[in-house]
């Protein structure tokens, strides 16, 4: 990391591992359950959140000395909402099919607790550049989990990745299906996303016992 100082690199890397927004802070779970049935929407969601959070953090950080503290939550909401509407419009104009697929979830970025959480906890008290890195780091951490969950759910639930039939054709019985393999329809449903996230949390904490909370 020659480009970034040690402190800056930490801002990006920490949320990827030991301070992950989903598995450690357990924020942004709602969208992680809803859109991860397939890999493609997971990635688009991750990129959209990265855009909103990275830019939003910068905007909030620039305004941090002028925002009246009485209405700061409303101001934060307006900044998120504005950015989300822009993302929505741009997707509608340039990736219409995708925007149809994501439909309500793009709007739900507004309620993604990671975003409000980072605005309130970081951007309001830090300079724009660290805030930007913090936003990118946290959305990367969010995106990594989304992609992992999406990968397993699409692979085991539909036997595809990005829509390609990687395990063979379930109707024509080719590939794995020829020897009796079946798709697990449960993987497509939201509860299974919770279980997959749970397994990730389990694996992560058993590799790093320092993360386990004391009761």
């Amino acid at each position: 990391m020659g480009l970034l100082s040690k402190k800056d690199a930490k801002l990006i890397l920490d949320p990827l591992t030991d301070d992950n927004p989903i598995t450690i802070q357990v924020l942004g779970i709602c969208s992680a359950l809803a859109i991860t049935a397939q890999l493609k929407p997971s990635i688009v969601m991750a990129v959209s959140v990265m855009f909103v959070l990275g830019l939003g953090n910068v905007v909030i950080s620039l305004l941090r000395n002028v925002i009246p503290s009485k209405i700061r939550i409303i101001v934060q909401l307006i900044v998120v909402a504005t950015l989300v509407i822009i993302v929505d419009q741009v997707l509608k104009a340039f990736a219409y099919e995708l925007s149809k697929e994501l439909s309500v979830f793009i709007g739900l970025i507004i309620t993604n607790c990671i975003i409000m959480g980072r605005f309130e906890a970081f951007a309001l008290g830090n300079k724009p550049w660290p805030s930007f890195l913090d936003g990118i780091g946290n959305s990367l951490g969010y995106g990594v989990i989304l992609v992992i969950v999406g990968f397993f759910r699409e692979l085991l639930g539909s036997g595809t990745l990005f829509g390609f039939k990687v395990l063979g054709d379930p109707i024509a019985k080719t590939g794995l299906y020829a020897i009796g393999y079946e798709n697990n329809g449960f993987m497509v449903l939201p509860p299974m996303a919770l279980i997959v996230v749970g397994i990730i949390i389990w694996v992560q904490r058993s590799r790093n016992p320092a993360l386990i909370e004391e009761n």
Partner: protein
């Protein structure tokens, strides 16, 4: 000089500036991107209409596959030969009939004396004339809509349904092929009378081999959405009956 950020006047001025800035930014984006969004929505309509008349990329795909967006305009003008707007007993040719907003028309028609504009597209595939009409109704949570392609005798050649917010895995399945394909071959007319098509639970014909029962098999767990589809077909297709009768004279 530090500004007192706790003063009410400061809060109000800040809010006003924020609203103006954000408002003009969003307005700029919306009007700047509008032409592209309109083009996309028109292409989607064309894809749906072509899908209903069985012009699609379904071959080899496991689910609904439309004609790709960049080819759809050419295919649309190739397969859809004529478009009409029906107003009462008057029928006028209109090459943009498919763009008529039937939601707006349905609202206007609530006023007494308004003659509703009914769009109908006439296409030709494999030497057969196909009549495509749009339908719109209510599902469980929100709007459902679609296109129905019929021949002269009001026998369904194909349908396409879509929805705004039905439950994934349940009501949202109306846009899956296995449900839409069930409609093919069913007829709306029983002799001379308009019968409609029911989405029926327990119709003893889950594979839909019986094409003369005016029923298709319902989706498990999606009773209201299914009823919505049936009601939408009954209500909207019925308006076209006089037109089809005049064709068969």
């Amino acid at each position: 000089m530090a500004i007192d950020r706790d003063k009410n006047s400061y809060t109000i001025i800040f809010s006003v500036i924020m609203v103006v800035v954000v408002g003009s930014l969003l307005a700029g984006f919306a009007s700047g991107l509008k032409p592209m969004i309109t083009v996309n929505m028109e292409a989607e309509k064309q894809q749906n209409i072509l899908y209903a008349m069985n012009v699609n990329d379904n071959e080899g795909a496991s689910d609904v596959a439309f004609i790709p967006t960049d080819e759809v305009a050419a295919d649309f003008s190739k397969y859809v030969t004529k478009q009409f707007v029906i107003e009462g007993t008057k029928t006028t040719e209109n090459n943009e009939a498919y763009l008529i907003d039937i939601k707006k028309e349905a609202n206007k028609a609530k006023k007494a004396g308004y003659v509703r504009k009914l769009p109908i597209m006439i296409g030709e595939k494999d030497g057969k004339e196909i009549y495509i009409v749009p339908v719109r109704g209510k599902g469980l949570w929100d709007a459902i809509w679609g296109f129905v392609a019929m021949d002269k005798t009001m026998t369904i050649q194909g349908v396409y349904f879509d929805h705004k917010g039905e439950t994934p895995g349940l009501g949202a399945e109306i846009k899956q092929r296995y449900f839409m394909d069930d409609f093919k071959g069913e007829s709306f007319l029983n002799g001379n009378a308009f019968e409609g098509i029911d989405v029926a639970k327990g119709n003893n014909d889950p594979l839909n081999n019986d094409k003369t029962d005016y029923e298709v098999d319902a989706l498990a767990g999606a009773t209201i959405t299914g009823d919505g589809v049936a009601a939408m077909l009954k209500k909207d297709i019925k308006m076209y009956v006089p037109y089809f009768k005049s064709l068969n004279k």
